[in-house]
Structures are given as C-alpha cells and as structure tokens.
Symmetry: C2
C-alpha cells in the first residue's frame, strides 16, 4: 500500500512539470482534482524544503532542490551511458535514448538529443507500455513467450495510433522477428510520424536495457536499417561490456 500524501505531492510536482515548470494553485487543482486546502498544504511542505519555489505573482514553480536530486540520479545511469548515446547520435544524426524495463513499463533513463532543428522532445523519466515502442519490443523479445504474453495481458495493448500492434499473436510474431534481426523498429506505433530503431544492451547474460534512435519518419526511413542497426549494436555491445564487470566499487 502506498502513502497517500506522498502520491499526491508527486501528482502536484508532476502537474507543475507538465505546465512547463510553473503554475498557479488553481491550475494544479484543475489538473489533479485535489481540494485547494490540500494542495496548498502539500505545496507548503515542498516549499519549506526547497523543492518548489513561489514566484512574486504567487505562482508555484519547481525548485532548485529538484535540480540537485535530478542531477545525482542522472549522474548514476545517465553519465555512464551518455558517451555511448553521443556516439549513436553521431552515427545516426538522431536523438538517442537509453531505456530499461521497470515493472510492466519501459522507462527512458537517459537521452542525448540530436543536433538537428527538428528533433524528439526530452522524454527522460517517461514511462510507456512496451508494445508500442521499439525499445519495448527489444526488451520484451528477451523474455520467454508466455512471460511476454502474461505481461501483455496484464497491461492490455492500448491503441496509440492506427499503426499500433494491438493483437498478442501479431506481437509474438513481431518479437520473433526482432530476435532474428537483432533490432526492433517502431513505425509510428507510439506516435504518428515518429519512427525509431532500437537494439538490445546485454551485460553478458541478460538484456538489461535498450538503446534507440528516433526521429521524423522521413529521415529514419531514408537510412539503411541493417547498416544503422549494425553500427548501433557495436556501441551497445561496448556499453554492455562496461556494465558487466564485477560491479566495481564497495
């Protein structure tokens, strides 16, 4: 069982983030559906600890404390993966992501944006269902078929776009293809017009993460998939090798 007030505090912080980092109390109330008194009390607590700031017009904004926590969290995985992601950006010209499985969700844990003007928006920290993304397919493909089916039954396979695969049978076939090819595609299955190519990251015995590049459909479709996938696999392999060793410190 979860702690209600913490969940609500997180709702408040997330709604602030969705409003671009700052919002009035009533905007938060509209978004979260919580009563005013409650939100105000939560905000005061966060305020006292520096995780939220109040601007001169009384609006609330995400505070500097979050920068610190975020920085440490990012330092953990992100900085580790960043050089490899940067090489993928160099290779493909597109935004590169690192994602891991967390429960039934795929979570993006690091990103290096493409230098191009038209590029993917930051989605670090976002949680998505695996069936509609390239990284999700790669991560699912490593599981036993019945395990994957169980998960898909639990989550359902909601249709995100007309291209989304919504049938378990079709998904199993797709996962087989992913295993055979060694990479997965997302052809506008999560968001129309956005295509991705993902490859697995293995620490030697298991697939622990997936790395992908994503960008506008036209640009992604223009490249030779096999060739791009081969380049990405090389980078993912190097990253995986760094994860593998005897765990290092402590």
């Amino acid at each position: 069982m979860s702690v209600q007030s913490i969940e609500r505090a997180l709702d408040v912080l997330e709604s602030l983030a969705e409003h671009g980092g700052a919002a009035g109390l009533s905007e938060i109330a509209a978004k979260t559906g919580l009563p005013y008194g409650t939100i105000h009390r939560l905000l005061r607590t966060l305020l006292a600890r520096g995780y939220v700031r109040q601007e001169s017009d009384r609006r609330y904004a995400l505070g500097a404390g979050l920068m610190r926590l975020g920085g440490v969290a990012e330092g953990m995985v992100g900085a580790w993966a960043r050089p490899y992601l940067a090489r993928m950006v160099e290779l493909s010209g597109e935004t590169a992501n690192l994602a891991v499985m967390e429960g039934d969700f795929v979570v993006y844990v690091a990103q290096v944006p493409s230098p191009r003007r038209l590029r993917m928006f930051a989605e670090v920290g976002r949680r998505v269902l695996p069936h509609s993304t390239a990284v999700g397919k790669v991560l699912l493909a490593d599981r036993a078929a019945d395990d994957a089916v169980t998960l898909l039954e639990r989550t359902g396979m909601p249709r995100r776009t007309p291209n989304t695969i919504t049938e378990a049978g079709a998904m199993l076939a797709e996962l087989g293809r992913v295993r055979a090819l060694g990479y997965a595609m997302d052809l506008g299955e999560e968001e129309l017009g956005v295509h991705c190519l993902a490859v697995p990251v293995s620490d030697g015995e298991r697939v622990v993460a997936a790395m992908s590049v994503s960008g506008p459909a036209e640009r992604i479709d223009a490249v030779d998939r096999e060739e791009l996938a081969e380049g990405m696999r090389g980078i993912a392999r190097a990253f995986g090798a760094e994860l593998a060793p005897v765990s290092g410190e402590r």
Copy 2:
C-alpha cells in the same frame, strides 16, 4: 504546518543522494533515524511512481522520474541563465554560479563549470547561509540594514572557517562596502582556499539574484578585481534585462 510523510520521504531521497545515489534500507535508517517499517513504506510509494529504483541486490537508488523533474526545474532558470554564466566562465576562466535568496538561505540554482582541471565541485541546489558567501553578501546588501540584521540574528552567523565574518557590526560594514563597490568577495569565508567574486542581478527594480565566479584562492587573487567585476556586471545586467520584460507568455 508541514506534512510529516512528505518531509520524511524527502529525507529518504536526500539520504540516497548523499550516499551517491544508492543505498540499502539499513543505511538509510542509520542516516535518517526513521524506523525500518516506515522507510520501507515510503520507499515503496516512491518506487511505484518511478522516483526510486530497486537494483538486483535489493538496494535502492534514485530513479529516472527525478531526472525528469530535475530537468524541467533546471530548464526553467538554468537554461535561461546558462548562456550568461558561460560568458562569465569565458571571462574569468573559473566556475560561474547563479544564486537566489530562498527564505533565510542562499540557494545555488545554476552553474557552468570551469574548463580547468582544478575547479569547484557542482553545488547546484545547495543551500547556504548568506553571511559566509559572496553571493549571500550581494543579496543581503540589497536589503535595508535592520532587515538584514533581523535575518542575521535569526540565522546566527556560524563560523565556517577562521575567515568567516561572525559579527553583525562587521557584516554591516562589509555590506556597505559591497554596495559602494558593486561587487562582493568571499575570501575563504565559507571554505578555506576558495575565493569568490559576486555581482548582483537586477530585474530593473530589485536585486533578484546574484552571479559569481569561484575558484582556488591563488587564481582568483591574481586577477584585477575591479576589472573582473566590471565585466561581470555587464553580463549580469544583460541577464537581468532578460528577466525584466512584461513576463512574456500567458
């Protein structure tokens, strides 16, 4: 009044951060002094929302959700200030910081590190008392004398190093000097061997922030203060001008 469970959840997150981003339950218990059952329940809530992750060895680590919130928070002020801070780094060769007053504390909200090998460690998000830092003096100097004295009485003026100014009278004289010169120095008053020079950022009517450069005493002392301060004031003025306009959107 604050919400207990949120405060405690923040304690837990902070203790994780202090442990370098990951720790076992008992390490957290030792640091926070909270009972095991309580910590575990808090962690489960944070876990369910992706703000904490559990590694295979059952240790807990800061999660990707924080990267997202931190990113948005940083995006707000930091990205805004970053180009200006970068110019200060270029000008001085030292790490540049942006700090604001929050309650009785000075909080560092953005930083651009020096390219040099020997440089200040990231302290974004850190809260310090104003009396022992250059940015703090700049921010205090904008206040009425009795206002500043009240604040200093509230916080006390703890001695951080042998150089710390710990007497209200001496501090008032120092603040007068800061107003007259248009910049403040910190000569190892917060940390021995670290010197800083800070200038105010004004949005046209009030000092809303302070920008500083800091580095090893030898390097900071080697430059012409007046000249460096003049250059920094120019940059701070430009930044302040960007903050001033009719607030922009909405």
